[in-house]
């Protein structure tokens, strides 16, 4: 009894991660009932044992690989961060189109990345893999990126952190008294 299961999900998700594997045929059938006798000359016991140890090994390898990949993904924003920092330094501290564009992209990228944390780590979901640590690193790095953006915003002087930002368009206070007059008209 053979069962060919091509996981569509895997097909999509695994595209990048698993490389060329598009489908898999599973020859091991654990669920099959023993109604039908084995063909003559086929001993189930020994290969069974071999098989199970093989799959375990394989699964371990995959889990290792997944966790390794997850760490890699988690560290990816760091490069971004460096890149961003360099661009910010290049843009300078005067308000013009480039510096504003870079600063806002520096703010927006971490934000969108944080929104999609679950999706980024979904391919590496495995009950054997602990994804919490990479996720935390990922979030921390993105937050770092955002802080960099905010810092840049502040250094551009676009954050209302000074008293002047709150009073600069405060209209003059009403005067209670009115006085007029002057020299006599000739």
């Amino acid at each position: 009894m053979m069962c060919v299961s091509v996981s569509a999900n895997e097909m999509e998700k695994g595209k990048g991660v698993l490389g060329s594997r598009k489908w898999a045929v599973e020859f091991t059938d654990n669920s099959s009932t023993r109604d039908i006798l084995d063909p003559p000359g086929f001993t189930r016991a020994s290969p069974d044992q071999d098989d199970s140890s093989l799959t375990r090994q394989k699964k371990d390898a995959e889990a290792n690989w997944k966790s390794q990949k997850a760490w890699e993904v988690a560290q990816a924003p760091f490069k971004n961060l460096m890149m961003m920092g360099f661009m910010m330094w290049m843009a300078g501290n005067t308000v013009h189109l480039f510096s504003i564009g870079i600063t806002f992209s520096a703010l927006w990228q971490p934000l969108s990345a944080l929104q999609g944390v679950g999706k980024v780590f979904e391919p590496y979901k495995d009950n054997k893999v602990d994804l919490l640590a990479p996720k935390l690193l990922y979030i921390a790095l993105n937050l770092g990126g955002m802080l960099l953006g905010v810092w840049k915003l502040n250094s551009l002087g676009l954050l209302p952190t000074h008293a002047s930002d709150w009073v600069s368009s405060l209209s003059p206070a009403h005067e209670v008294e009115f006085s007029g007059g002057g020299a006599a008209l000739y």
């Binding site: 003059p172 206070a173 008294e177 007059g181 020299a183 008209l185």
Partner: protein, 983 residues
């Protein structure tokens, strides 16, 4: 990316243009938004110059001290000179047929100007020993040693001056021998003798005969009459003179005959039967005839050869008589003008034949021009060899008209040369519902205009088309419409002139929309009336949109401060006098516009009279109740410059009547008379809008401005230094400036400039004052700035508190809370002396300010306020540089491109008025003096609008091209996709 680069480039361009301090304009932009009008003022004397060949012209001198040569055909100015305000023109004449001779400054300056082009040929200063009236006689055909002398009597001396080069020929001082007051200089034709006729101690009649060659006295006769004389001696013929006696009831006929003087008295009542009050002899010189004016009539009296006085004719007292004009056959003619209802009657008579009119013409006259004040006549020879006459008449509103053959040839509105006060009015809102044809037509015109402009931009236009483009730009019908525009550029400028006439000028091209001679301000024989102030009375906004806006004119009927005032309210759209409240029972010395309005949007006004009582207008119960409610917080102050006292007043609870209130004196500031004399006081413009109370300085720090409308700037100098520059040494001249709160009388700031003196010109705006004075030690003019900041608000710097609103910045301020203030000040040298200073004003007060300085050259210079910032330092830090603070220099720069008047001069500049447009970036500037000039300025560039010459056609074309390109590329890409799929 390319787009981003482009955008950033544009942004950079904008920024760099913001930093550039000047805002010059191109040659072809002149006249787009500015206009300039040239005037001369009310004509005093006129001399015709009508030779057969060449241009016919009339030379005039005016009450604005202008000498001008006018084209007799069209009334245009050939040339014009505006003499200084103290250089009053006494006499004007023509010498040698090519020089215009003027005598000015009480007869102390004699100048000759070249007749064709107005260049000065020579100038002579005449010194005299005492003050006397100035007389000028230019003999037409007298030759003394190849020279034609000019005789001038001034300062008690008779001078003979060469008309060729202005050299002194001789001088005869009358003051040495006696205190004679010469009234007339007479040169009988052909003789070599000048007759000087005068009066000594108003009781002795003297005639002197003086040799024209050397000034030697040939003969002196005198005769005394104990009664004394009134007015001037008038020559009737070569040896006969008439004068009134001191009681003005007797006419003295003086006959000089072979050294004997014979006096003959005739009672005025014998000549004029009936009332003969206020008799005067009119100065018109008619041979053998003199004219007497009384309260009831004018009589012409002929002096017969036997010395008898015969009344020839009696005419109405409003008749104006011209001087006699010598006609070719030796006979004389003169003109009479009789005032009718909306017409005038001009009649010319021959002196020897008074019985009939030589010429009689009736001319229709706009009754807004008032009465005829003066008439000058000139004759020409018609083709049938008979005499034709042209008459130059000066009207009550100071306008000048030329009449010829019963028609007005030209008119000049020269009343506009003496503007007293200016205000503005919005134009009516445009009515909705325009005809389709009009829209189509204007759309076609619009497209055509823009296609032409496009051609111009792409350099495809022919010279003719370039001219057409310029024409379209200059005569844009948009700017001259009689409706309100979106940007608030179209307004009515309402001008009050010295003649008591109100003019409304359109800001688009400066044309007169309407003009009204105010009945309440007309000078009558009983009283002399003059306008004082012009204020906005009703400005309909929300409640009373159906009403037309109106203005209040305050005047005074009489010469003293206690004279009754005249008030009238005039519709700003039509010029109709809506209400004539005068003459009111009270006098007016101050007009205060209160910041309150009633339900019909009428502005409440307080008129302070000479007895320090306040009178409320409008006199309605509603206004009274509004004022009663607010009266506790209404104060006023008076500046008594002579006494050196500032006094503050409040309203007394008890009031004499419903609309008049007693004042209670609250405070006085007495300046020590021996050391300080008030020379200037300046307040903030009452309608100025301030956007913010905070000033953000370098490093995001904030300072709070002390913004109070109740602040007055007072400048005093030591009494010794109150004269002209140079009259005091630096050690004895001290200039002290004060900033004073006018509610409490508290001196907010006092500063002393040692070795400086006036004249002080100042402008106060927001929290700063800029003033201009003379530094005697440096021998240069200086400009100083004082900025005043509120220290009691300075602690408001905690961001958190500001966020949650825990601050005292919006609480109403009272002057009685005595806020602590600090000031910053700085001084700079300034090259020019100044006639007026003003500051640009915008609708919301966001745009940065420009100082508008009226220079001595009668131009208006715009100076960025950043140049007079007391925080300027020699080496500004990076943060300060970013803030826009300029490095300190000792002198203020004068950038030639920043003259807002560009090539024009506003001759006799007296004032600069700024009016905010609706567009925040733009301020309207109106400068007035003898000339009028109007323009728009944008101190921070027009950041909120596209320029007028923005090419919409090019933009449209670009958009269309882009849309086409999109479609083409879309089709192409579809096709390519299809091919790819079939591959």
């Amino acid at each position: 990316m390319a787009m981003a680069i482009k955008l950033s480039l544009i942004l950079l361009l904008c920024l760099s243009s913001l930093l550039a301090p000047s805002f010059s304009l191109f040659e072809d932009q002149v006249g787009l938004m500015d206009w300039h009008q040239r005037y001369i003022g009310k004509v005093k004397h006129a001399v015709f110059h009508t030779q057969k060949a060449g241009r016919k012209r009339v030379l005039v001198s005016t009450e604005e001290n202008v000498i001008a040569s006018l084209d007799l055909r069209r009334g245009e100015i050939f040339w014009r000179h505006v003499l200084g305000p103290n250089d009053v023109v006494d006499k004007i004449d023509i010498a040698l047929g090519k020089y215009v001779i003027t005598l000015s400054s009480e007869g102390s300056i004699l100048r000759a100007w070249n007749l064709p082009d107005g260049q000065m040929v020579w100038e002579s200063f005449l010194s005299g020993s005492k003050y006397s009236k100035a007389l000028l006689t230019v003999p037409s055909n007298l030759k003394v040693d190849l020279d034609s002398p000019i005789f001038v009597y001034s300062g008690g001396c008779l001078h003979a001056i060469s008309s060729i080069d202005g050299e002194y020929l001789w001088k005869k001082d009358f003051a040495i021998e006696s205190s004679v007051d010469v009234h007339q200089l007479i040169l009988s034709g052909g003789s070599d003798v000048v007759h000087a006729v005068g009066v000594t101690d108003s009781s002795q009649f003297d005639t002197y005969e003086i040799d024209v060659k050397n000034g030697g006295l040939l003969k002196h006769t005198s005769a005394s009459f104990p009664g004394g004389v009134y007015g001037e001696i008038l020559p009737v013929s070569g040896d006969r003179f008439v004068v009134l006696d001191a009681s003005r009831s007797v006419v003295l006929l003086i006959t000089v005959n072979n050294g004997a003087t014979h006096l003959q008295q005739t009672h005025v009542s014998d000549l004029i039967h009936g009332s003969s009050e206020n008799t005067v002899i009119l100065p018109s010189k008619l041979s053998g005839i003199f004219s007497l004016r009384t309260d009831s009539c004018i009589v012409f009296v002929k002096v017969t050869d036997e010395g008898k006085l015969n009344v020839m004719e009696k005419v109405d007292k409003t008749v104006v008589v011209s001087d006699a004009l010598a006609l070719s056959e030796g006979e004389q003619a003169f003109a009479l003008v009789q005032q009718g209802d909306s017409k005038i009657e001009l009649s010319v008579r021959l002196v020897h034949d008074m019985s009939s009119n030589h010429l009689k013409e009736t001319v229709k006259m706009d009754h807004e021009r008032g009465f005829v004040h003066k008439i000058f006549i000139n004759n020409y020879v018609r083709t049938d060899r008979s005499h034709g006459f042209r008459a130059l008449i000066v009207m009550e509103d100071h306008s000048l008209l030329l009449l010829q053959q019963g028609e007005i040839v030209w008119t000049r509105d020269d009343g506009l040369a003496s503007v007293i006060d200016v205000t503005t009015s919005e134009l009516p809102v445009e009515k909705i519902g325009v005809s389709v044809a009009k829209v189509e037509h204007s759309l076609f015109e619009w497209l055509k205009g823009h296609m032409l402009k496009l051609k111009g931009t792409l350099m495809l236009a022919t010279p003719d088309e370039v001219a057409a483009i310029q024409q379209i730009r200059l005569q844009s019908s948009q700017k001259n419409k009689m409706t309100r525009d979106h940007n608030g550029f179209r307004k009515l400028l309402i001008l009050l002139t010295r003649a008591g006439k109100l003019y409304a000028l359109h800001t688009g091209n400066g044309r007169v929309v309407w003009s009204t001679l105010l009945q309440s301000l007309r000078t009558t024989s009983q009283q002399q009336c003059a306008g004082l102030k012009l204020r906005q009375w009703q400005v309909p906004h929300h409640h009373a949109l159906d009403n037309n806006p109106s203005v209040l004119v305050v005047g005074r009927c009489g010469l003293s401060l206690t004279s009754p005032s005249a008030l009238s309210i005039v519709d700003a759209y039509t010029g109709k006098e809506l209400q004539n409240l005068g003459p009111a029972e009270h006098s007016t010395v101050q007009v205060i516009t209160l910041p309150f309005r009633d339900s019909t949007e009428q502005q409440l006004h307080l008129l302070i009279d000479a007895d320090k009582r306040a009178h409320l207008y409008p006199t309605t119960p509603e206004a009274a109740s509004i004022f009663q409610r607010e009266s506790e917080n209404v104060y006023w102050y008076s500046v008594e410059s002579e006494a050196g006292i500032l006094r503050g007043y409040g309203v007394k609870k008890t009031h004499s009547s419903e609309y008049s209130f007693e004042a209670r004196n609250l405070w006085s500031i007495v300046f020590p008379a021996e050391s300080e004399k008030i020379i200037a006081t300046v307040t903030r413009k009452p309608n100025e809008v301030v956007h913010t109370q905070a000033k953000v300085i370098a490093d995001e720090d904030v300072m709070y401005k002390y913004i109070s409308k109740n602040m007055v700037f007072v400048a005093t100098v030591s009494p010794k230094a109150s004269g002209p520059i140079g009259s005091a040494t630096p050690d004895e001249s001290v200039l002290v400036v004060y900033l004073i709160d006018t509610v409490t009388g508290r001196i907010l700031h006092r500063m002393t400039h040692l070795g400086s003196q006036g004249p002080v010109h100042a402008v106060l705006s927001e929290n700063w004052v800029v003033y201009h004075y003379f530094n005697l030690r440096a021998h240069r003019y200086e400009m100083s700035v004082i900025e005043i900041y509120d220290q009691s608000r300075a602690e408001n710097k905690d961001v958190l508190k500001l966020i949650v609103g825990k601050h005292n910045l919006t609480t109403p301020v009272s002057s009685y809370s005595r806020p602590e203030v600090t000031t910053k000040s700085q001084s700079y040298f300034f090259t020019h002396s100044v006639k007026a200073i003003s500051v640009s004003s915008t609708a919301k007060g966001i745009t940065s300010k420009h100082l508008l300085i009226g220079t001595i050259g009668d131009q208006v210079l715009a100076l960025d306020k950043r140049f007079v910032d007391p925080r300027r330092s020699l080496n500004p830090t990076q943060a300060e540089k970013e803030e826009g603070l300029l490095p300190l220099t000792d002198a203020l720069p004068i950038i030639p491109q920043s003259y807002v008047t560009h090539a024009f001069k506003v001759e006799g500049l007296r004032g600069i008025e700024t009016i905010p447009a609706k567009l925040e970036s733009t301020s309207l500037v109106f400068a007035y003096g003898v000339d009028l000039f109007y323009t728009r300025i944008a101190p921070s560039k027009t950041y909120d609008s596209l320029t007028e010459d923005f090419n919409y056609a090019l933009l449209l074309l670009t958009i269309v091209a882009l849309v086409i390109a999109i479609f083409v590329t879309w089709v192409l890409s579809e096709r390519k996709d299809l091919q790819d799929k079939w591959r």
